[in-house]
């Protein structure tokens, strides 16, 4: 009874492995099912390499297009269309409905930017130029008015504030012995 339990425990410990994601991050390959030829590699140059890379990423050969080789470090990762998940069909039965993505589908390099809580590239309701004109037109108009208002101020005339006790003569550091001159604030 105890022997059976011990064997089952040993079996469970042996077969359990951590999720593949953490394994590729740490570099430990012992239990991972991904080998060197299934992981991204350097930039592809020959057509055979392209075909192999397209098959690796589960893409058709005419869809596969790597990022330009300008030293950014993308390697042979495909440059998928820069469309956000907002644009995908909401009624199709995706494997992961919140991400609108199927299992095994190649992920965009900026996938975490294109999820539904972030950047949205879907077509706008109004034409872009009209929106631009409205926004900058309004802001420019308000800016001009504020600048004019700042430079050409207009308000009812006011005098400087009048304080009691001879204009706070003592509080402002005047000599208590001396008698200050009387200030007249009115004319009759």
């Amino acid at each position: 009874m105890a022997g059976v339990g011990f064997r089952r425990l040993a079996q469970a410990l042996r077969s359990r492995r951590s999720c593949g994601v953490s394994l590729s991050l740490s570099g430990c390959r012992a239990g991972s099912s991904m080998g060197k030829d299934t992981l991204p590699g350097p930039y592809v140059k020959t057509p055979e390499e392209r075909a192999a890379a397209a098959a690796k990423y589960n893409m058709t050969i005419h869809d596969y297009k790597p990022y330009d080789d300008n030293g950014d470090g993308t390697g042979d990762y495909p440059h998928l269309p820069d469309r956000s998940q907002h644009e995908r069909d909401p009624w199709y039965t995706w494997d992961h409905p919140d991400l609108r993505r199927n299992w095994g589908e190649p992920m965009h390099w900026n996938f975490d930017m294109y999820i539904r809580t972030r950047v949205d590239t879907s077509p706008t309701v109004l034409p872009w130029r009209k929106m631009n004109k409205q926004l900058w037109g309004f802001l420019g108009f308000m800016l001009v008015l504020f600048i004019l208002g700042e430079n050409f101020k207009s308000y009812t005339p006011v005098l400087p504030k009048q304080y009691p006790y001879n204009g706070l003569y003592i509080e402002k550091g005047g000599d208590p012995e001396k008698q200050p001159e009387e200030e007249k604030h009115y004319e009759i």
């Binding site: 991904m34 992981l39 199927n102 095994g104 077509p123 872009w128």
Partner: protein, 116 residues
Amino acid sequence: MADWKKASLSTQPITLDPNEYFNTSPEFRRQQKDRLAMQANLKRQYQLQLNNPHRTQLIEDPALNRWVYARNHTLEHFRPTLRTSLLGILYGVVPLCAIFYALKRDRWLRSGSQHW
């Protein structure tokens, strides 16, 4: 949306794409067929794993692993070019110097020195 015009940040609605209606070339259709076949195969693999009553663990997604690996191993394929060097300076050196100067200037002003 009949007066929709192409713009850099707003994509074309799929209903206004002429390819959707007029592209009947066999090449285009063959490409669509290949794409759909591949997607159907992946769907099948996922469904087999999902509905397998003997499965006890998470379904590992190789596409996710490749994405994470690619994003974390950019240094292997990095090459210092003019563009990458300028970007490095723009993102690394300029903010550092700007913040350093801003804080120092604030201190000089507070202490009353004429250095700034």
